[in-house]
Symmetry: C2
Subunit: 120 residues, 2 copies
């Protein structure tokens, strides 16, 4: 399939697909006229990338998943590199959640105080 169809079937844009290729995540065969040609495997790769991005991973984080899938595994996660990224992300999420809880507490306290002062 060509880039437009791939974009449509993955819910993204041709711009993004070229961007992924530019960063070495996707490689496309070219037809004789220079058009990119993709197969079903690429479809899976892009879907993996998109779902990871959606959760909050950045592009670089998706690389091990893509390579894992390309190596023939059933899922992109069952490789050491992916597992390491997942572990790191889990820790990131925990610290991020913790920081947000702190911020939330600060904001809530500030809000309660401000309302008090405002009403008095």
């Amino acid at each position: 399939m060509r880039i437009g169809e791939l974009a449509e079937r993955t819910g993204t844009s041709t711009r993004s697909l070229r961007y992924y290729e530019q960063h070495g995540l996707l490689e496309a065969r070219r037809t004789s006229n220079g058009y990119r040609e993709y197969d079903e495997i690429d479809l899976r790769l892009v879907r993996e990338i998109r779902s990871l991005l959606e959760i909050g991973f950045n592009l670089e984080d998706t690389r091990p998943f893509v390579e894992c899938l390309r190596s023939g595994r059933a899922t992109g996660a069952e490789c050491p590199g992916s597992i390491e990224v997942l572990s790191r992300k889990l820790a990131d999420l925990d610290s991020c959640i913790a920081r947000l809880h702190v911020a939330r507490a600060l904001v809530e306290r500030e809000l309660a105080q401000a309302k008090d002062e405002w009403e008095s």
Copy 2:
């Protein structure tokens, strides 16, 4: 005091202070040679801005707090505009925390599965 001292006493940079001024959050008197001149009130304003930015507010969000302080209140929060920003931020934080919990659950599940598959 001049801009360098203000920057140092607020733990920021002269660049940032000029940026705040450019966006109407800070107004500086000028001495005869064109230098910006700040007083203790400006010190409080900048500290308010910095602490809000640190929690995760953006510059625009700090505006009502600055105006509140400038109107003579004891804190930047005890004004309707500030209270509204705080309420909005509280909701933002809650939805953000919720989304992160969802992501965390996804990542954790993925990680557990991946480890299983990898060990088998």
